[in-house]
């Protein structure tokens, strides 16, 4: 109980993060400055400034309701669809503010793919699931090109071997882990620069989780990845950098090795040692 008392802080308190939120300019893919998010009166993200490195896996960790998913959804403007949500501050993708008036959210989402917590394949065939993105963006000039995109995407997502004979089966008939890899294939089919993953393994068993983690390790050769996760071990295994959120504040950010071995902030220490969460 004494521990909990130490941890309770005021809801609207804004904390200055420890660690090194900012990176060398060459490494930066996304830079966020003074980002605030409000749901009506609720201040969900409090003045967060952080850089995301290119071709690395960055993990957002923190207890439930800390705002890490909200922050993730700001990066591809998915929060635009929520009426009550208001966003302030700057998020720059390759130096361009994505909240500028002349930025088209549809184009932005073609550059930033997303994988959701619950696997959400379309109720269509496996092929159609992957072909949908390239088709609406007009990425393939003919059927052969589309076939190639579908096959490469499924291969990159490590799913092709399992489904190559059943491409016409419904995507929803796959197992949970396969569905999630199908969603990853769907996300990379439009060749995004960045993939956002919102707790992609929370609905999966350990074997399916291991497969997706392996996959993320391969994908980071070509893609910048941000993953929101509840699992400390997962963050430690897959990410190069970690950001710890608490009640809408960015508490600590730094290299994953540093944070997990030598956390600076008391809250981070308590969280990653499993005393709080």
């Amino acid at each position: 109980m004494q521990l909990m008392d130490n941890l309770i802080m005021k809801r609207d308190e804004i904390i200055k993060p420890v660690g090194n939120p900012f990176l060398n300019e060459e490494r930066v893919k996304i830079s966020c400055r003074n980002v605030n998010v409000y749901y009506e009166e609720n201040h969900a993200i409090k003045n967060v400034s952080v850089d995301i490195a290119e071709k690395e896996v960055t993990a957002f960790i923190g207890p439930s309701g800390c705002g890490k998913s909200t922050f993730l959804r700001c990066i591809n403007r998915m929060n635009d669809t929520i009426r009550t949500c208001r966003i302030e501050g700057e998020i720059r993708l390759d130096g361009e503010n994505i909240y500028d008036k002349n930025v088209d959210p549809v184009l932005l989402r073609a550059r930033i793919g997303m994988v959701f917590q619950k696997p959400n394949p379309f109720p269509k065939s496996i092929y159609q699931n992957v072909a949908y993105g390239p088709r609406i963006h007009g990425l393939a000039r003919n059927k052969a090109e589309l076939d190639e995109i579908v096959i490469t995407s499924l291969e990159k997502a490590g799913l092709f071997k399992e489904v190559k004979d059943n491409l016409d089966h419904p995507g929803t008939s796959l197992s949970g882990g396969q569905q999630q890899r199908l969603c990853i294939a769907r996300a990379i089919s439009v060749q995004p620069e960045l993939i956002l993953m919102d707790e992609p393994c929370s609905a999966l068993d350990p074997i399916a989780t291991a497969k997706i983690e392996e996959l993320m390790d391969e994908l980071r050769q070509n893609y910048t990845i941000i993953i929101v996760t509840h699992s400390m071990q997962q963050a430690a295994r897959v990410s190069q950098r970690t950001a710890f959120f608490h009640l809408g504040n960015l508490i600590e950010v730094g290299d994953t090795n540093e944070i997990f071995v030598n956390p600076e902030h008391k809250l981070t220490q308590d969280y990653i040692t499993g005393r709080y969460g």
Partner: protein, 434 residues
């Protein structure tokens, strides 16, 4: 008590408490189940009674009494100058042929009044039937043919046992008529046959000639107009309100008003149709186009509400999945949300259409209650619809219209069943799992 398995509660009182409570809980469940089953049984019984009475009253109308006549198509009556002209053929005195045949069959009838009684046992439709035969095949002229012509509705009722022959001068059937009918029965010259005319004819003042086809075609046209107007309009409205419209006071007002419209009595829509479509736009009276427009107004709120509910039931994850790969709002709705919501929308549409099919009141206001004999040939022709036809027949004094009314109800119910069956098939076809 100690072998109850719960060691720390040696007295067993806790378990007894639960057991006592359990009995009560199960009793409640049983009462609820019994009430439910009773309700279902009562409902089914009512339905059975309804079906039995309607069928009992109505099946007779599917048969009609016919009288066998040996007609001589006398050339001197039909076409005395041998012109072969269609006008001459169509204006010939076929009624005279029927009368002559009847006189030949009963040569003992001499008095004028008796002759008139004799002629009345055959339907006035017999002459039309002969004319049609000759028009179709002029070669019949000069030959003698055995023709089955419909009996008059009173004779039909007598044969079917719905009315009895009275004494001289009383009742619908006179004693001499009854005697002729008996003679015909003895000669096997009168029998009940399947009543094709009921399924192919339009309305008529003569029950033995009245058919349901005119009203059925009218209903089909009205349903057609209603469907092609209300389904796209309703779905488009629902999609816009649910997916695109901003949430503000105006959309709130629209929403409340749509819900109110769904509860407006249907005759009010009839008045609206009369005022707007007939008096203001000058559309034709009694026409299926106007009936369809009025029923569209009536059906729209039902379709919109059902469509919005089924749009709401499409999971957010599907929309986000589509937006996540860069689909525009319109694409996510058209490619993913709408196909998933379609089965629910279809169900709502069919419910609305079924209600529209059975609707009488608003159509009375726009003149579809008129007596219309011809089968309508298009949506601008004068027409009536099945429920109005039922209403008209139920209002007619002739005994023979009683069974026609029930038979028309059977046809209406068959229409409804077919529509619902189509709805189920369509829903199965479009249904997708997510």
């Amino acid at each position: 008590m100690n072998n109850s398995g719960i060691r720390h509660d040696s007295s067993g009182t806790r378990l007894q408490l639960i057991k006592a409570g359990l009995k009560r809980r199960y009793a409640k469940e049983k009462i609820f189940k019994t009430l439910g089953i009773t309700a279902i049984v009562i409902a089914l019984m009512m339905l059975t009674v309804l079906f039995i009475t309607i069928t009992k009253n109505g099946y007779g109308a599917f048969q009609q009494t016919f009288i066998r006549l040996k007609i001589t198509f006398d050339a001197s009556v039909i076409d005395p100058e041998r012109t072969g002209d269609a006008d001459v053929l169509s204006q010939a005195d076929y009624g005279g042929l029927v009368k002559k045949t009847l006189r030949d069959m009963f040569p003992e009838v001499k008095k004028r009044r008796e002759k008139r009684d004799l002629y009345s046992i055959v339907s006035s439709g017999a002459a039309f039937q002969l004319r049609k035969m000759v028009m179709d095949d002029p070669g019949l002229i000069g030959t003698t043919q055995t023709v089955w012509v419909p009996a008059d509705d009173d004779i039909d009722m007598l044969i079917k046992g719905h009315i009895k022959a009275g004494e001289e001068g009383t009742g619908r059937i006179k004693a001499n008529e009854a005697a002729w009918v008996n003679t015909l029965i003895e000669n096997r010259a009168i029998e009940k046959r399947f009543n094709f005319a009921f399924f192919t004819g339009g309305d008529s003042r003569e029950p033995e000639l009245a058919g349901i086809w005119g009203a059925a075609v009218g209903s089909l046209y009205v349903m057609f107009v209603t469907l092609i107007l209300s389904f796209p309009l309703g779905v488009a409205t629902a999609v816009y309100l649910e997916e695109f419209a901003p949430k503000n006071i105006w959309t709130d007002i629209i929403e409340v008003n749509i819900n109110n419209l769904a509860a407006v009595p249907s005759i009010v829509f009839g008045l609206l149709g009369l005022a707007v479509f007939l008096n203001f736009f000058g559309l034709p009276r009694s026409a299926p186009i106007v009936g369809g427009l009025v029923l569209t107004l009536m059906t729209l709120p039902t379709i919109i509400i059902a469509s919005r509910v089924s749009l709401q039931s499409v999971p957010l994850s599907i929309r986000e999945g589509a937006l996540g790969v860069g689909a525009s709002k319109m694409q996510s709705v058209m490619h993913h949300v709408l196909p998933l919501a379609l089965p629910g929308m279809l169900t709502g549409t069919i419910i609305g259409m079924a209600r529209a099919l059975g609707e009488t009141a608003p159509l009375l206001m726009i003149g579809m209650v008129a007596f219309i004999v011809d089968i309508p040939a298009g949506i601008f022709d004068k027409a009536t619809v099945l429920p109005v036809q039922i209403y008209l027949w139920a209002d007619s004094p002739e005994r023979a219209f009683v069974e026609k009314t029930s038979a028309a109800i059977i046809v209406l119910l068959a229409f409804l069943l077919i529509m619902n069956a189509i709805a189920v098939v369509l829903r199965r076809k479009f249904e997708q799992r997510w």
